[in-house]
């Protein structure tokens, strides 16, 4: 793989590899765009088979994070941090503090934040070594929202827009949802979905413990084996797994009207895109609706009240609706409409900044 070519393809200008063998830390940081502000890096810990795949994931995440920030008009740039290893095994105080030391080297160009793979306790260890951390306890007390909850809430607004577009309905009641992967964000998505009347929720995960946690609280959810999930008949299919993009074979099995994901982009190959289009499934890319956590972190970084966070989360509904309209009018995919819109915004901001 030509790494520079891949960087060019994804508009990333900086890709850094870092290893600290004494604590088994292997990190990859991709910086895509800082026009809007410092990078708020999504962090993922994943047991990658090879570093090529990990670098690829870092570049792709950073690429879409830039668009996500731009669509929400936040003051954060796009980047990503990939930590290689089994999240259950690699993390400990020394590992996390070493990561903090590494983040410090970027001198504020990049911020690390609490997320699905970094818990409150993890963030506290990182904090001992660097100030470039977002996700303070106070944040949750103030807004009564964790980053995963904010993401889930934002996604629900996005889904409402998609449902409005597809079913001319104002809420999600009476619909059937598939949630593939119930880790953290998936869990909170289900929590939000069950606030609507008569929704049917079908779930799966490779790890049974997560399913059990949900079933203990909501025995009515239907559970299926991971291999059976794509065939489930539903109105909305939500993928909330990080490890794999949708394959053409899985796309063929889908029996849904709307498809989305908590990861930035579920579909990365043309054949899968073609199948989704042929099946007339509305694909709302994850990065269009999964920006709830950035809204929350922005409120911590720049300061804002809970009302404003709620208002910005609701804005995801309007953004999504507008993109769906554009896509229809221009006869392009929602993904293309989102990229065009985000790029235009970045160009405008970039032009203004040159005035300084």
């Amino acid at each position: 793989m030509d790494i520079f070519q891949l960087m060019r393809q994804t508009n990333n200008y900086e890709l850094t590899f870092y290893e600290e063998p004494s604590v088994s830390l292997r990190a990859i940081i991709a910086i895509n765009n800082t026009v809007l502000g410092p990078v708020l890096a999504s962090t993922k810990i994943f047991n990658f088979n090879n570093f090529e795949k990990a670098a690829n994931a870092a570049l792709s995440m950073a690429y879409y994070n830039t668009f996500r920030s731009a669509l929400l008009k936040t003051q954060f740039g796009g980047g990503s941090i990939i930590l290689c290893g089994d999240p259950k095994k690699v993390k400990n105080e020394f590992y996390l503090r070493a990561l903090g030391i590494y983040i410090n080297k970027f001198a504020g160009k990049i911020f690390i934040a609490r997320g699905s793979d970094l818990t409150e306790e993890d963030i506290h260890y990182i904090w001992r070594e660097t100030d470039y951390v977002l996700g303070a306890d106070e944040l949750y007390l103030k807004h009564a929202l964790s980053p995963a909850q904010a993401t889930a809430k934002g996604m629900i607004y996005g889904l409402k827009a998609a449902v409005k577009d597809q079913f001319s309905k104002d809420d999600l009641s009476g619909l059937t949802f598939v949630v593939q992967g119930v880790d953290n964000i998936g869990y909170h998505i289900i929590e939000e979905l069950l606030k609507f009347d008569n929704v049917n929720v079908i779930i799966t995960d490779r790890i049974y413990d997560k399913i059990k946690e949900i079933q203990d609280r909501v025995p009515d959810v239907k559970v299926v084996r991971p291999g059976e999930i794509f065939k489930q008949k539903c109105d909305i299919f939500i993928s909330s797994t990080f490890d794999n993009n949708l394959t053409p074979e899985q796309a063929e099995q889908l029996n849904t009207k709307i498809l989305t994901s908590s990861v930035n982009n579920l579909i990365d190959d043309p054949q899968t895109q073609k199948i989704i289009a042929e099946k007339n499934i509305l694909h709302v890319p994850g990065y269009v609706i999964n920006g709830g956590e950035i809204i929350l972190f922005e409120s911590e970084f720049y300061g804002s009240e809970p009302d404003s966070v709620e208002q910005k989360l609701f804005e995801i509904y309007n953004i999504t609706l507008s993109l769906l309209k554009t896509a229809k009018e221009q006869n392009i995919s929602v993904n293309q409409a989102a990229i065009n819109t985000a790029k235009q915004y970045l160009e405008n901001i970039s032009a203004i900044k040159k005035l300084r």
């Binding site: 049974y208 059990k212 079933q215 025995p219 084996r225 291999g227 059976e228 065939k231 029996n255």
Partner: protein
């Protein structure tokens, strides 16, 4: 070589979780993971202990160097779920739900099924429970308590009681199901079961009935309990704890250790002897009661469990009950072995796993018409089920089969499929290519597993992408044309120049077969002359055509005309031309020779898919064809032609 199965057995107790790893019957690792009172006190309910205990199980196994991905099944001790007949059960969502809500009460064993399920889920292998405490084989008379509002329920040490009874039967070279036994399990709880033909027709409820135990009170004078309950001194929970947990020996001496009490007896403490012997006295009383359940026809009395280690204690029981039947002592509990043995019986196909909450599994068998081969296939499938422990069309059935004949009619086939769906069948076995093709299209988006028995080839199901149909399975009979020719015609008649072929336009498998023959013959320089047979009468026309074309051989295909033709109808061809037959049956009807698979093996492969699905076992390969190939020749027909059959390998001659 006998396949080696790796089985993990999990048995959660009140303060420990016992685990064992088995390679078939051999226990290669066992550990009793103790949980301190402190580690458990933070949980409000037993169910909340799930993650803690599961992590301990996984950590212990990993530290001991076991690779969980090597497991074939996980088996847990079932809990106080809803009453079910004895046996091995596939863990499913309904069972997990009932364990979660503690259907018949809180007990550590409620975690057995969910921990097993969780580990099995991650490795995509089956999870089972075996003879949970909730086993209920009560005869109707046993359910009557004496008050209309209080039915009796069965709750006992089913796992150890059944395992010990099985061991006794095996030790005495008898069938467990042929014996009448009384088995007393003596542990922290004590239950005494009457086993008649392998069923526990009556047993004291281990929580609230029977003799007192080291920590439970068993039967108590009822009016005095009511007085206590309304004395205002106790809450409901306190009273429950007083009788279950702090009753029995604990209430008299403050200890639940029978060993401690026995040591006091040996030291001459009279009061200890009185109470301890009274416990034996009540157990003997219970055994006596069970003998009446069996009308005195008792083959043996078996005493098992931890307390059975005490000779003093068992002697007290023995002297009061040995007039009923011989008494055998099996000290200790063999629960881990019993769990693994249950799982192993299912994995080896010796016993069907039962479905929790599903009274009897249902299957549909759909076939195109009353064709001899299809009827044979049904018989082979039924035999396979029988040899794997399934009983059907009988009073004690554990499998319901719905038979659906399409009568060679597409509309009828669709009606049959609708009908089978409405019966909520667990799977459908479809026999023959024509019915398979229809069923595949009709049930493409259904969740019902479809097993195509005797498919010519997977191409018959046109438009079906097998990689996208995880619920489709097929046993295939069609062998490659090149093999059929090379193993027969090309050895008997290497100079063959012209071959006639019968086929039936409109039957997909026949057309595929026909195309393959044409393609092969064209490569080999053999001229292929085809004749479409739509009715049996067409066979005469076909013979005339082949005569006129001066063919050397005729290939009789697997279409429904040839498959249903009689010897007489085929004679116009088989007596005039040497014939290579697609089907073995055609040779029986006068065809010369066939290179084929066994129809029985094809049917059995399909039945094997079905048994695996019903038992929740993983199926890795969805399309299978029998490994063995055979050559069958008709002895009488062979006399009509001058071929040297010694050139063929292992010919099986039929007449």
């Amino acid at each position: 070589m006998k396949k080696k199965f790796n089985i993990l057995a999990i048995n959660p107790g009140s303060t420990s979780t016992k685990i064992a790893w088995f390679e078939n019957e051999k226990k290669i690792f066992e550990k009793n993971i103790h949980h301190s009172a402190k580690s458990l006190e933070k949980f409000n309910t037993i169910w909340e202990q799930y993650s803690f205990r599961k992590n301990e199980v996984v950590r212990t196994l990993e530290e001991a160097g076991f690779d969980l991905s090597k497991l074939d099944a996980v088996v847990g001790r079932g809990g106080l779920i809803r009453p079910i007949p004895s046996g091995v059960y596939v863990v499913d969502e309904q069972m997990i739900h009932d364990a979660r809500i503690a259907y018949q009460g809180q007990h550590a064993s409620n975690l057995g099924c969910v921990i097993a399920y969780s580990i099995a889920w991650e490795y995509n292998i089956p999870a089972y429970i075996v003879d949970p405490p909730a086993v209920d084989d009560f005869e109707p008379l046993a359910r009557i308590s004496g008050h209309a509002k209080i039915p009796r329920t069965s709750l006992f040490h089913a796992l150890n009681i059944f395992a010990t009874a099985r061991k006794f039967a095996s030790d005495h070279k008898k069938r467990f199901e042929d014996l009448n036994l009384i088995v007393a399990h003596l542990g922290g709880g004590i239950t005494v079961a009457a086993l008649k033909n392998g069923k526990a027709i009556n047993v004291n409820n281990g929580i609230e009935e029977g003799p007192f135990t080291p920590e439970r009170s068993g039967n108590l004078p009822i009016l005095k309990i009511i007085d206590l309950a309304f004395s205002g001194q106790y809450t409901k929970d306190q009273l429950k704890k007083m009788f279950v947990g702090k009753g029995g020996l604990v209430s008299y001496f403050g200890t639940n250790s029978a060993l401690e009490v026995e040591n006091m007896v040996k030291a001459g403490a009279e009061r200890y002897k009185l109470v301890y012997e009274a416990m034996a006295y009540q157990i003997a009383e219970e055994i006596g009661a069970r003998s009446t359940n069996l009308k005195g026809k008792v083959d043996a009395i078996i005493i098992t469990g931890g307390l059975a280690h005490s000779q003093m204690f068992t002697d007290w029981i023995k002297e009061r009950v040995e007039h009923i039947a011989p008494v055998y002592i099996y000290p200790g509990a063999q629960e881990m072995e019993a769990l693994a043995a249950g799982a192993l019986r299912v994995l080896r196909g010796q016993e069907p796993a039962k479905r929790y909450g599903v009274k009897t599994p249902k299957i549909g068998i759909l076939y195109w018409d009353n064709i001899e081969a299809y009827v044979k296939a049904i018989n082979y499938i039924e035999d396979y089920f029988r040899t794997h422990g399934y009983i059907f069309r009988k009073e004690n059935s554990n499998l319901e089969i719905f038979y659906a004949n399409c009568e060679a009619d597409e509309t009828k086939a669709r009606q049959n499929l609708e009908n089978l769906i409405s019966k909520n069948v667990d799977l459908i076995i479809v026999i023959g290519s024509t019915a398979s093709s229809l069923a595949a299209q009709y049930l493409k988006n259904s969740d019902i597993p479809l097993i195509f028995a005797g498919l010519y080839s997977k191409d018959v199901l046109s438009g079906i992408d097998w990689s996208k149909e995880p619920k489709f399975y097929a046993s295939v009979y069609g062998l490659p044309v090149d093999l059929q020719f090379e193993k027969t015609i090309l050895k008997l008649d290497p100079q063959i120049k012209r071959i006639g072929v019968t086929y039936k336009i409109g039957e997909l498998q026949s057309n595929i077969e026909h195309d393959r023959i044409r393609e092969y013959c064209s490569q080999k320089g053999i001229k292929c002359l085809s004749f479409d047979v739509q009715t049996h009468d067409d066979l005469q026309e076909a013979a005339k055509f082949f005569e006129a074309e001066d063919v050397d051989w005729v290939y009789l295909g697997s279409d429904t005309i040839i498959a249903t033709a009689t010897t007489k109808q085929l004679e116009t061809i088989t007596k005039h031309f040497p014939t290579l037959c697609a089907l073995q049956d055609t040779v029986h009807h006068g065809g010369l020779v066939a290179y084929h698979v066994s129809w029985q093996e094809v049917a059995e492969l399909a039945a094997n898919f079905a048994v695996k699905i019903l038992n929740g076992l993983e199926i890795k390969t969805h399309i299978l064809s029998p490994q063995n190939h055979y050559i069958t020749a008709n002895q009488n027909t062979a006399k009509l032609f001058n071929f040297d059959f010694s050139k063929l390998e292992n010919v099986n001659f039929v007449s």
